[in-house]
């Protein structure tokens, strides 16, 4: 599994948030990272498990992992490719 090989450089827990604040928090966290670093995002808003990866790709970042970790939560890994 790819996620077992990657250690995120930063992690945010945005459980309890809904759109668009899920993406607001994710985007600000990505902006604060250096290019090449990996952000882990833990969330429980189902729609954001699809919309965040899509928007991150639209913004030029790479989605390394989208994983439903339990009944309620998702774990995303995003690698920053550009500012």
């Amino acid at each position: 599994m790819v996620d077992e090989e990657i250690t995120p450089d930063e992690s945010i827990d945005i459980r309890g948030l809904v759109c668009p604040y899920t993406f607001v928090k994710a985007k600000l966290a990505i902006e604060d990272l250096e290019v090449g670093k990996v952000l882990e995002i833990i969330l429980d808003y189902e729609e954001a498990s699809r919309s965040i990866p899509k928007s991150m790709e639209d913004h030029g970042q790479t989605v390394l992992l989208v994983d439903k970790t339990n009944e309620t939560d998702w774990r995303l890994l995003i690698r920053k490719e550009q500012d």
Binding site: P20, Y21, V24, K25, K27, L28, E31, S55, D58
Partner: protein, 267 residues
């Protein structure tokens, strides 16, 4: 500087855009924009810049709010009639966004005070309703090398242009001298459709935000003309003139002069 939770909500529709993001929003919060005139154009420009989170907004106007202003000057109200326009605007913008520091100057802009007033700002927006001020502001911005967004409205037509001193044209490259007072529409001829300053002021505010963000094109070397009756936008090329009296190679205007001469300013 980190955003407060309130700011994350307030600016969320900016932050989620790739062209703005948190970085762009911080640029807006750090920006200082000066608006000449708290009238038809100054109201919507101030309104949208404050909503966008432009951190410091300076405004100068010597007039008080009158009932006849309210047909188009949307930041004023019945409750501020008789009060200084700059104070009325400041109260409205403060109510919209407490992040914004509004510097209200109730005075006339003159050749003696303008350089000192503008020197601390990044960008100037001209919403003045008369030719002496328009040329005073243009010449001062060229001398200070401050970007200037200039707008004008009359009846059903408006225009916008963006002056970047040293890079593009200036207002005198477009019209070298103010028209003689007799050719300027007199007060009773100078009607304006109430919504027109909203369109033109909105375009001016858009130019300001793009300059702050460093995104997209601006109306450099161009004049945008909007005709409300024909629903038409038209762009006219305005080259920077080497013989322009203020921004040309050998300028003849090297200091500010007396700009007033028998003009009437419609209220």
């Amino acid at each position: 500087m980190d955003f407060t939770e309130e700011q994350l909500h307030r600016y969320s529709r900016h932050i989620i855009m790739p062209e703005v993001g948190g970085k762009g929003q911080k640029k807006l919060l750090a920006a200082k924009v000066f608006i000449v005139g708290a009238g038809g154009l100054g109201c919507p420009v101030g309104y949208y810049l404050a909503a966008a989170g432009v951190g410091t907004i300076g405004v100068v106007d010597n007039d008080d709010v009158e009932l006849s202003n309210l047909q188009r000057q949307i930041a004023h109200s019945v409750s501020t009639i008789g009060k200084p326009k700059v104070e009325s605007l400041k109260a409205t913008l403060g109510g919209l966004n407490p992040d914004v520091n509004v510097v209200a100057l109730k005075q006339r802009l003159t050749n003696g005070n303008i350089l000192d007033i503008l020197k601390d700002y990044d960008i100037v927006v001209d919403g003045s309703d008369n030719f002496p001020n328009r040329y005073l502001v243009n010449d001062a911005c060229v001398m200070l090398k401050k970007p200037l967004i200039s707008g004008a409205i009359l009846r059903f037509e408006g225009q916008v242009t963006t002056i970047i001193p040293g890079e593009g044209h200036c207002y005198r490259c477009l019209f070298e001298e103010p028209p003689p007072p007799g050719l300027v529409p007199s007060c009773q001829e100078a009607g304006v459709l109430g919504v027109l300053p909203g369109v033109i002021g909105g375009l001016e505010a858009t130019e300001v935000l793009k300059l702050i963000l460093g995104k997209g094109e601006v109306l450099k070397n161009e004049l945008l003309i909007y005709n409300a009756l024909q629903v038409g936008f038209r762009k006219v090329k305005v080259p920077k003139r080497a013989d322009c009296p203020v921004c040309g190679d050998n300028p003849t205007i090297t200091e500010l002069m007396d700009y007033d001469a028998g003009y009437c300013a419609p209220r």
